[in-house]
């Protein structure tokens, strides 16, 4: 495991600093209903239409744990190769805010449902292991909307009570690139498991980023700052770079770093102090007396274990073994469950090598251009494998295949039909080709003579003419052979 190259180092004067990063990722549990109520969790609903009496904290209302969310958290724990705690406790985190109806958030403080685990990152310079400290379940708060009215704040409680998994990493990350890889890997694992949709635009995945710096080679951690609630990988990376440099500047200037909570201003690309350690809330955590400790049996965990699908790391290994993919190719293919499913569907019926190249090359480029996910691909796995088979059996050339592919991108058409309708089938009949070539030589007698007298460069001209006359359909290999004979 090489660590050195994926480091992010900052040089100032004669000093070299490394950045130390830990993430608290908030991942919304993929679930029809909330953590402690039966309200729906659909994104984008009209404000305050998915709010029960429990979510709005009416007097006498009590939380009842949603078993499905517990299962989702345990599955995620298994996916993170983590210790599942058979006994966990829900605590109240007390603070006042308008979008926190209970006046406390139900979370897990001392006894989380999932303990230590790990995530393996594939960095360009090798693999890197990132430790997971814990995963716990908690409620999301509602949303305060400040910009609808000059004087009032509006509150939308649709999100109030939605189940979140807070996944806390160890301070093992050393660069914005590693953070990128870590978030993507976490997202990938959870999407494989179906426990979080990982949709960062909709806020299903966001993170608090803890950043500190220290002189390269020292062991003690520097004072860290926590950048709250960053909701895209790009912003996380920008925030880390800004924050690390800010801290280095302070140290170089002989100042100390205050442990504080900061906000990342995406417009100005800077972090700003939100509250200092002294102003930190005293959350007065204590076990929620409305809920008994959560106890799960070995049987319960084993059942969930048996429902765990093949995860990216295992799938990658299999793709390398079974399909002889390179580690680079395998990484791309397993990066998300949909791509890997697509790939496996394609190679079920067609050549692996060609399929790999076409997916990573043409397909990804085309999808990228149209800003589409693989699940929205106009070309189904079945049709892509048909196209590959047409290339493989010589029905069309690679070049023609690109034309067909372009057509297919316009709508999911059967490539065989496109080839037939447009008459794109490759001409591989030697007799037909001979006739064609004779005609070309005939009408270019002078050039043929020049060729024979030693101007061999003209061979390309003849190939071009033949291809032109055939409408690009002539089998290039045969054309070469016959031309050589005839000239």
């Amino acid at each position: 495991m090489s660590k050195e190259k994926s480091e992010y180092l900052i040089n100032r004067n004669d000093n070299q600093y490394e950045v130390v990063i830990g993430l608290e990722v908030h991942a919304q549990v993929l679930s029809q209903s909330k953590l402690f109520s039966t309200s729906a969790t659909k994104f984008g609903a009209e404000p305050n239409t998915q709010v029960s009496l429990v979510d709005a904290a009416f007097p006498g209302m009590l939380p009842v744990i949603n078993e499905f969310c517990v299962k989702q958290a345990i599955k995620t724990g298994i996916g993170l190769k983590a210790k599942i705690n058979k006994r966990s406790v829900f605590d109240r985190k007390n603070y006042f805010y308008a979008d926190l109806p209970q006046g406390y958030q139900i979370s897990q403080f001392k006894n989380p449902i999932v303990g230590e685990g790990k995530v393996i990152l594939d960095m360009p310079d090798g693999q890197k292991e990132v430790g997971i400290e814990r995963l716990h379940l908690e409620q999301d708060a509602g949303k305060s909307i400040h910009d609808l009215d000059p004087k009032n704040t509006f509150v939308d409680l649709n999100r109030s009570g939605v189940a979140l998994m807070e996944i806390v990493s160890k301070p093992d990350l050393r660069s914005p690139e590693e953070v990128n890889a870590y978030i993507k890997k976490l997202r990938s694992i959870m999407r494989y498991l179906g426990t979080c949709d990982g949709n960062m635009q909709e806020g299903s995945l966001r993170a608090d980023v803890n950043v500190s710096v220290r002189k390269k080679g020292t062991k003690d951690f520097g004072t860290r700052c926590e950048i709250k609630n960053v909701n895209s990988i790009k912003f996380m990376q920008m925030a880390i770079e800004y924050e690390a440099n800010r801290q280095v500047d302070l140290i170089e200037d002989g100042q100390s770093i205050d442990q504080e909570t900061r906000l990342f201003d995406t417009k100005k690309n800077e972090t700003r102090s939100m509250r200092s350690k002294e102003d930190a809330h005293d959350y007065r955590y204590f076990p929620d007396p409305d809920l008994l400790p959560l106890e799960v049996s070995d049987e319960f965990i084993n059942q969930l274990q048996s429902e765990i699908p093949e995860l990216p790391d295992e799938k990658k290994k299999r793709f390398i073994d079974q399909f002889k993919l390179t580690p680079y190719e395998a990484n791309i293919m397993v990066s998300d469950i949909e791509t890997s499913n697509y790939f496996e569907d394609v190679v079920k019926k067609s050549d692996v090598k060609l399929a790999t190249n076409w997916i990573i090359g043409e397909l990804f480029a085309a999808l990228n251009e149209k800003n589409l996910e693989i699940t929205d691909s106009p070309i189904s796995a079945g049709n892509l494998s048909k196209l590959i088979n047409l290339i493989k059996d010589g029905t069309i050339s690679g070049k023609i295949a690109k034309t067909v592919f372009e057509q297919m991108m316009e709508g999911d058409k059967d490539p065989k039909k496109i080839v037939e309708e447009k008459g794109l089938k490759q001409e591989s009949d030697p007799q037909a080709l001979e006739a064609l070539i004779d005609k070309v030589i005939d009408s270019n007698r002078d050039k043929a003579t020049e060729y024979k007298s030693g101007k061999v460069k003209l061979f390309g001209f003849f190939v071009g003419q033949v291809m032109k006359v055939s409408g690009g359909k002539a089998n290039p290999q045969l054309v070469n052979e016959i031309l050589k004979k005839k000239l």
């Binding site: 009496l53 009416f58 007097p59 006498g60 009590l62 006042f96 007065r284 204590f286 809920l291 008994l292």
Partner: protein, 485 residues
Amino acid sequence: MSDITKQTLSELVNNIKEKKLSSSEITQAFVDRSEKSKELNTYITEDFSNALEKAKKFDDNPKLDLKLPGIPMAVKDLFCTANVRTTAGSKILNNFVPTYESTVTQNIWNEGAILIGKLNCDEFAMGSSNETSFFGNVQNPIDKNLVPGGSSGGSSSAVAAQLTPITIGTDTGGSIRQPASFTGTVGLKPTYGSCSRYGIVAFASSLDQAGPMAQNVQDCALLQEVISSYDQKDSTSIDFKRNQYSKELTKDIKGKKIGIPKEYRVDGMPKEIDDLWQKGIEYAKDCGAEIIDISLPYTNYALPTYYIVAPAEASSNLARYDGVKYGFRADGENLIDMYEKTRSEGFGAEVQRRIMIGTYVLSSGYYDAYYLKAQKVRKLIKNDFDEAYKKVDAILTPSTPSSAFKIGEKTNDPVSMYLNDIFTVPVNLAGLPGISIPAGHDSKGYPLGLQIIGKAFDEQNILNIAYAMEEKINFKNKITDWWIK
């Protein structure tokens, strides 16, 4: 029948079943008496006309196989009742009308009973005299200017004054048993987990329990049978086999072992209370029970433990009353200002005191010394009972260290007020059932109660002991109707 309101619940039920009385007649009688009893200030919200309408509907289509057919009933204003204002005795919920019904009250209506009103109580059930209610003092029908106990003071007063045949209260540290004791009535705090907390305005979640309050043990048993149910909407509700408490009620308690805890003989306890206790022991012996001396060594720590745990939970439970979503809101310059004004104006002094105590004991740096230690002591208190119950079937103690006191007597001395809960609080901390039955009078003629504490889920046993002793004690409440002009 002129004295409908003097009838016990069982008598009323029989009269309805035998069609000697209609629900309308009974409801009218209790409404009339309630109307004449406004001076007691038992009601926060009256629902008389709706009640009479419902009674008429019942009579039009009587369902006589129900357990509480057409019986009118007022309930403590801590139970949320659909479309009927629910205040918890607080200004902060002065205008709050729930759209939902608590499980306990729903169980009652399901058996045919009819709501006639919401009864006064200490604000958020925090008090031992009903003096912390935003809606004013409740008079004890025993004597003018006497507190009815608390926090279920409106409930105890209403039952004792026969404004409702039976009622329900809630008991977090003695709030059913102490007012029952002060008014010469019967009050049962069930095992924690027996009655659903769904829809009850929370005070201290790990201690709160709803329970029946009645004129006698039989009625109390019947109401317990109705209100106790397993409820998936309350995660602390327990699914155990519930008895048909009233049907299984028996006076045969021969051979039952009853423990007398020496630690309950507290310093400064009035002789009258000690004498009552001794008499209680004799009654129990008369019923055939065996008396055994026991020790509950951690009893002394119960009160301080309670006054850490209960305020801690309350400080968090009451955070939701912030002026944002429902209830009282004071205007403020900004969010924090609105919070501060709303909560300063909306909560009374005792509630604010407990929120502050609770906030303090949960604070970083104090949590271990107070809250965590209190939880450990709580476990030791429970262990005391577990040990005792290896030797005995139930425990007999006084319900309170004194009889009812005068309104205003202890308002400026919160600690002396808290001491009133000394015999009842350990039962809540241990999650056990306890019943208070009237057992005699002090020199002033005020009632005094005895408490029988049972094993968890053993309500039937303490009801049986109470039932047997009730007959021997043959208590008669001295109520003169002084408030009726």
